[in-house]
């Protein structure tokens, strides 16, 4: 059975981080720090999600004089939907913590 698209741990990590602020534009370096992914992993993921229409990208003016513009990213409506679905699936798969088990 072929593996479903965007099921890797790294993609899931990126989707979760972007889902924290779904409408905010995020920088590549900022996403790298938030996810712990190196640029060698992050950029191919961003490009793939962009190709699949799950993410939007834009250019933003640099902050301050002499600063170059930056490429910014955020999830598209499809991306937000997918990230939420995956988050629900992951939550269902997660083993309940000991405290939760005692309470139930």
């Amino acid at each position: 059975m072929p593996r479903p698209a965007n099921a890797s741990r790294q993609t899931q990590l990126l989707l979760n981080v972007m889902l924290e602020q779904p409408l905010a534009w995020r920088y590549g370096y900022e996403l790298s720090k938030a996810t712990g992914l190196t640029s060698g992993t992050l950029y191919p993921l961003l490009m793939r999600l962009n190709d699949q229409g799950l993410m939007e990208s834009a250019w933003q003016e640099g902050e301050g004089p002499g600063r170059p513009p930056r490429h910014v990213y955020r999830l598209s409506a499809h991306g937000i939907k997918l990230a939420r679905e995956r988050d629900v699936v992951l939550a269902e798969k997660r083993v309940p913590r000991r405290k939760d088990r005692v309470l139930t």
Binding site: P2, L42, P44, S57, P68, R70, H71
Partner: protein
């Protein structure tokens, strides 16, 4: 020149090269990499970022659609060498006593039996390579183990000087003289590799 500026300079050169590699395929993303570098405060982090950009550019430009195919070819080549090694090790070992006794009793079958007995370790080896392929290619296509097997068969059929000294005619001769074991020699490891690939947890995720 201080260590810090040396790192920043190298990072800029690397990212410039990464952008040049990526530009024909993804002009917007190549510019994004170059610009982002200037917003990274620490020089050491900028250098690490630049190395990552270099990897991302080459991966995107040259291996985007070919990674799984290359993995299948690499597994096929690796399996061919491992199988050759295993056959050599098995051939160098003395025949077990039970086999000698059995072969004396069934002289017309002895070589066929010996070749067939070699199938089990070869099948285990092929199965493990199937699992490796599933992990490398992440189960992207069921054709991938067939590519690996194609490479293995090609290796077996090509009389490469210095690697293989069996002429092509010798292969057909062995099929004519020992049909059962010769067919089993191809079919059993092939099935094992495909099963290893299909049954691997990596291909079922």
């Amino acid at each position: 020149m201080s260590a810090a500026s040396w790192q920043r300079g190298l990072a800029r050169r690397l990212v410039r090269h990464a952008a040049k590699v990526l530009r024909p395929a993804e002009p917007s993303w190549s510019a994004a990499m170059e610009m982002e570098l200037e917003h990274i405060p620490k020089d050491s982090q900028a250098l690490a970022w630049a190395f990552g950009c270099l990897r991302a550019s080459y991966t995107r430009r040259y291996f985007k659609h070919h990674a799984a195919f290359l993995a299948a070819v690499a597994v096929g080549v690796a399996y061919a060498f491992a199988d050759e090694l295993l056959s050599g090790v098995l051939a160098a070992r003395p025949y077990p006593r039970w086999y000698v006794a059995f072969a004396r009793a069934h002289k017309h079958l002895s070589l066929e039996l010996w070749f067939s007995a070699q199938m089990l370790p070869s099948a285990l080896l092929a199965g493990s390579f199937g699992v490796v392929l599933a992990r490398l290619a992440r189960g992207s296509s069921t054709n991938l183990p067939l590519i690996s097997l194609g490479v293995w068969v090609l290796y077996a059929l090509l009389p490469l000087p210095g690697i293989c000294n069996v002429p092509l005619g010798g292969v057909w001769e062995s099929f004519r003289l020992w049909p059962i074991s010769s067919i089993a020699r191809v079919v059993v490891p092939s099935c094992a590799l495909v099963f290893g690939y299909r049954l691997s947890p990596a291909s079922m995720q």
